[in-house]
Amino acid sequence: MTTVPPASSTPLGSSALASSPLAHAAAGLDACVHCGFCLPACPTYLALEDENASPRGRLVLMRAVLDGRVALDDPDVSTALDSCLGCRGCETACPSGVPYGALLEATRTTERSITTLPWIGRVILAVFASPWLLRLVLSGARVLRATGLARLAARWLPSRLATPFALLASTARPPQRSYAAVRAAGASPREPVALLTGCVMEGLFAPVNRATERTLTVNGYTVRPATGQRCCGALHVHAGDRAAAQRLARENIAAFEASGAEIIAVNSAGCGAMLKEYGHLLHDDPLWQARAEALAARVRDISELLAAAGPIPATGPSLRVTYDAPCHLQHAQRIVAAPATLLQSVGAATLVPLAGSDQCCGSAGIYNLLQPDVAERVLAPKLAAIAATDADVLATGNPGCLMQIGGGLLRADARTVARHPVELLDAAYARSDDTDLRQ
């Protein structure tokens, strides 16, 4: 057998490595038996066809870093780790229960102690960490969208430049008949709920947030405002900026505690997964850990809440609908059936299965902005599968996925549009005679 000499130099000394987040998470590496079941579940392996772009390959590299066989800032190691979408599709496929998401996060955090993100990533994270900058950028984006410039640019610019415009243009929504939401006669009164309004959700998908509030109300929940809430911090954790994420988490915990709501509703799968992991994020903060865990236990995805409520059925327009599972709903939160329950309550909609709906679309937070080429390769089979369903609407409950798939559909000039599942339910409620719901 070949014996491999230890990496000649590493800026991360062996003692620093021994106390790094990666070293603390190392027990998770031991669970891997190298069976390879994760390979076909990994979108980047399928797209790039190299084991370095697979969970098994990345776990080998993490182990090699810990064993001193390779330096953490080796370009091959960075490339392998950066290529990961963080979709955690591998966790669902893994029979040994390797905590891949936690290992990736620990590795990226360790990585950030010796290297920095590319400038574009740093800019994006800084914007999300600052309320006023974020408001400014999102207002600018809305102007660009309203003028139709985003749509034009998405259509006419060359592929790589067009991507951000397509993402933005896909968030446009036609005006919709509004209705005064009241608790439906068939719905029992339920707990008070506060909605995580989110950054991208409120900035670019405000109609979806309003639809979420209305559908919650119709189904018996009382929606309470939670002022002072911030970005959930998921983007920062995934990029290895744990400290920023912890700051945001503390502010959010305080805001939701003050709202008096018993349940925190989230309509963005990625943010929901983050909130549910606040206990883990603040596990080393004795002042906040218990509060973080208590909050995390009260977080529910909107599909969970509505599915638990029934939900009140209503007849929407006759549509062919297909569903794509956001990774952070299916793999991270393990919520599989609830979105279908929600969509089935929309009468007149025909639900058609989507091949490979459990595979990532390539959005993955800001991945599609940092790695547009890989993101596009990952998206290609998804668009082909959607085309095969001949659906009018692709439903998915996460802003990143809505934009990635929506933008792809836009650029492909497809007739399918991407919508959040609650938008369909809300549209059905809006169509129903108000008295229908009151009776």
């Binding site: 031991d30 069976c35 390779v70 392998a80 029979p95 040994s96 229960g97």
Partner: protein, 736 residues
Amino acid sequence: VHLPASLLSELRAIVGDRHVITRAPALLAYESDALPGYRARPALGVFPGTQAEVIAVVQALHRHATPFVARGAGTGLSGGALADDIVLLGVHRLKRIIAIDPLARTARVEPGVVNVTLTAAVAPHGLHYAPDPSSQAACTIGGNVAENAGGPHCLKYGVTLNHIAAATIVLPDGRVTTLHAPTTPDAGPDLLGAFIGSEGCFGVALELTVRLTPDPAAVRTLLADFLSLDDAANATTAIVAAGILPAACEMMDRATIAAVEASQYAAGYPTDASAVLLVEVDGTDAAVAEDADRIETICRTHGARAVLVAHDAAARARLWQGRKKAFGAMGRIAPHLVVQDAVVPRSVLAPVLAAISAIGARHGLTICNVFHAGDGNLHPNIPYDANDPVMSAQVHAAMQEVMATCIAAGGTISGEHGVGLDKLAYMDHLFTPDTLDAMCRLRSVFDPDRRANPGKVVPVHSCREWLGTAPGPRTGAPIALPPAPAPSASADGIIEYRPADLTITVSAALTLAELDACTRPHQQWAPLLPWGDDTLTVGEVLARGLTGPTRTSLGAPRDLTLGLTLRDHRGATISAGGRVVKNVAGFDLTRLVIGAGTALGRITQASLRLRARPQCSEAWAIPSDALDHAAWDSLCRGPYAPLAAEAIPSDVAAAIGLHAIAHHLLWIAGNAAQVAATRPWVAACGPAVALDADVWTALRRHGPFAEPRAPELDAVARELQARVVAAFTAQPTVVA
């Protein structure tokens, strides 16, 4: 190894820069397969994306005399796809399903197609690819062919060998040829049979024509739990001995159940049981219901505490999921895992399991057993910590003892994982120097320079033309072997008959009539049934590869022979294969010899797989002019397919006592319920007349009535066949 710079630039030009990996950190991911106890760094990785690129890469490696190892998904369990400082050639990018022919029930696929992807692709046609190794969610068809992979359902449906109709391969010297499964007698050395399971030593597959199997109309899965491992083992033997051929019969012991139930694939196995048996029967509704009832009774008689029957697909999938993911679930127990593979005669499962348990206890180790009980194919697995040198040494010693125990019990060292690196040290204990030498000669036919997966499968010291005539020193620690039981030889040509194992070893001079007379009292048969009469000897049938009317339903000699002894033209005695129903230890000399006539030597003994004689058997004749062809086709292709179906001319009809007009004849068989359910299908074909089922014995003397067309061999395949013959006739050139 030093790779010439010009090779590197050639490879980059062929596959593109992105698909040639040379930097050490990026090669770490390719150091292991799914047995990470073995690790070796390739000198470089090259990953072609098309068949033309594979050919060009192999030709470039040939020009530069560079050794290489082919790799699929790296899910192997023998360290077989490790490239130690040589070139690693991955074929996982070749993942096209080229064509599906639902009528012929075949598909043409590239080697990188994932096993379960193929089954998903053909599912709309009501078909599936039968070999289902537990790694099927990740492993590739190319890798399956290299290892002759099995799986739970090969108990009834056979292993990879039985499901590959043709393979287009590139030889290590860069020449391309297509090898076909023989369809006619006297087809010459079976190169495809030798290629399958050759662990990447004979070339690289470019395209495979696989046979597809119709989905069964009905499936029942039973879970029986036992308070003793012995009872579960004995129940397995009793099920098979009762004449039932389950689609699968799997066993898991307590330690395995605990691991599975702690994982996200918890299947609801009772954690307080000593063992569970997962038995699946499939076929028609009628047959399955009867078999399931009988299995339940047998399990209860043998001490099953409870028998759970999964009736719907969801419940079945849940029961299977735990079994299929058991190996991964053991990752929870300890940081490392040794996965073993050995086969013993089914009837000695209970004592062998007890011995394995004792070996574990002696070394202070937990051995988890999860295995294909119906085949006697054991998988003793040991979770351990490789960083603990004392424990690692104990594991190593325990595994050697387990292997020795299995060999002593009349078994073999690998049923489906292959030899690779992991089993290399045991080859000497299983095969004679003459047999190992024959394997080396076969390897030289395909790869004279030993550049394809060098150092694997057959220990180098056993190749005489390389290292002189005497075997070299043994590698690895010696194993103390218990004395082998003396064969119960008898003068009548029956060397060993184990009814409970459904195996028999006979002299090649035994006639088919004598073989039949021996197995009939046990309600068993060796369904060779070739065209001709029963004075043919077993040796003739095998040497010529003779088949008859049951070829498609019950198999050809290459499907039914477990092993054989050959006296070759050099005077060497070669013992190929073994006496157990699954065996992938070493190169497949058995397949090579079947159909090769006397070109390679004379067959002196053969071990055959037996089947339970059908409980009911009926023959029906329909005048051809009154035949409803559509009904006939749907009977022959459907779930009630007969054992045999032939169109016979008028003179033959007269000779077997029918009216002297052309007839269509059917042979239907199975349990009573199955045969009763088949009769209406027969009636639908036309006015059917019942005949004595023995009419088929008479009919075999008059056939064949339609000889299948022999596939045409290309020049390279013909040359390979000639070189195989030469390798078994010419005297070895000894290099001092």
